[in-house]
Symmetry: C2
Subunit: 226 residues, 2 copies
Amino acid sequence: MNSICLPVGLDPSDLDKLEVLIERKKPLQPRESVFLSGEPFTSIYAVRSGSIKSFCIDADGREQVTGFYFPGELFGWDGLANEHYQNTAIALETTSLCEIPYEKLDNLGNSIPSVQKYVMKLISREINADQQLIALLAGNSAQQKLASLLLSISDRLVQQKLSSTRLWLPMSRGEIGNYLGLTVETVSRVLGHFQRKKYLAVNKKEIEILDKKALRDLIRSPEEVE
Amino acid sequence: MNSICLPVGLDPSDLDKLEVLIERKKPLQPRESVFLSGEPFTSIYAVRSGSIKSFCIDADGREQVTGFYFPGELFGWDGLANEHYQNTAIALETTSLCEIPYEKLDNLGNSIPSVQKYVMKLISREINADQQLIALLAGNSAQQKLASLLLSISDRLVQQKLSSTRLWLPMSRGEIGNYLGLTVETVSRVLGHFQRKKYLAVNKKEIEILDKKALRDLIRSPEEVE
DNA sequence: AAATCGGCCTGATGTAAATCAACTCAAGGT
DNA sequence: ACCTTGAGTTGATTTACATCAGGCCGATTT
């Protein structure tokens, strides 16, 4: 079983039983959807390669990005409460997924307690991630938000194709801005600023983190102007 | 079993089994804590009466409110992922809780599948709530944020002591502001503005919603200035 | 009754980010 | 080779909200 699909924390024997659940789907094209908001909840998904954006449409019809998912990460839990997905999930690039039908996972959980426990933890991770985002959105500057996002992506892409300092942003500036509660222009300007400060080297969607410490410091205390 | 402690959705026979898990605690005093960030995760809690604020401390030591919980609502799921609570939870007023030890709930879930399923749904509700907050924090004005919060509290307090239009805010202006990513002054000014517009009657922590429709319209489309 | 303190309100001023607008650049299309 | 289109950048201007500062009021202390 590919450890990318369901991360560690289970007995190998239990892992074997999990493997049978997983359906490998043929790769998604960029912009292709995994599920749409409102559809009946059937499965959760693990990213094998590529990346996923999830978003909802709020009262006034505006799109709100709620998460980006990279290889090894799971998404789709938001559908569990109402038996319908709350978000729409689409591929940001060519992306392959593992589909894990919830029904089967649930049955397996009923017979193997350790699986059940593990699934709960996975769900609760999504809660922690969301709460971190809340903290970020509620009392931080544009610079702090962007620094946080870049460091988060960098951390999550360790053990991936690119090193932790060279990374490829699969989403547009607009999608970053939407996620962080900023406009495209602000995202662009802050990236420019970071570049001038030699914190980053930016080339379109390719980012090299030159000064990780500076970015981390920025998150702790707002930047001094010079 | 008090339906306030665990809402409906289970067979009555299963409910009986759940009841034995629940430990009723003696009421908490205002500002008394339920658990502290970093403590080992043991239980989830249901609010019987009163209200709870949960918050975390971020990198720079600032407090960030992540949720308010009212009668009938559950909190503490954030501790599941790491086996330690991420947030601190304190009572905003004299508050009584049901404690539901997770270990016992988990065991029960292993023997009764419907309980397990139900617990999952409860967790996933927290995810949905968090994602709604994210959407609110990321692209909305101070007026929209406050209108949303007031309507949300009003909805959640239906079937409670006060009617859906007269409500008592147990938290301070500062706590509201922190939660919504606003300053105390802004909260105060927006409440004043809503009052002048006759959307609300505000008397300290007592709020009467006079024009629910106006508030709802405000959320959909930003206010016109006159 | 005077003093202290915290929560809340209000006004003046400052500023970060939004908005508006123009321009560049690369990718397709005809 | 020329036109379109969309993503990204950059500059000028505006604005919503933060910040700073003062004052009010009810509760608690002395």
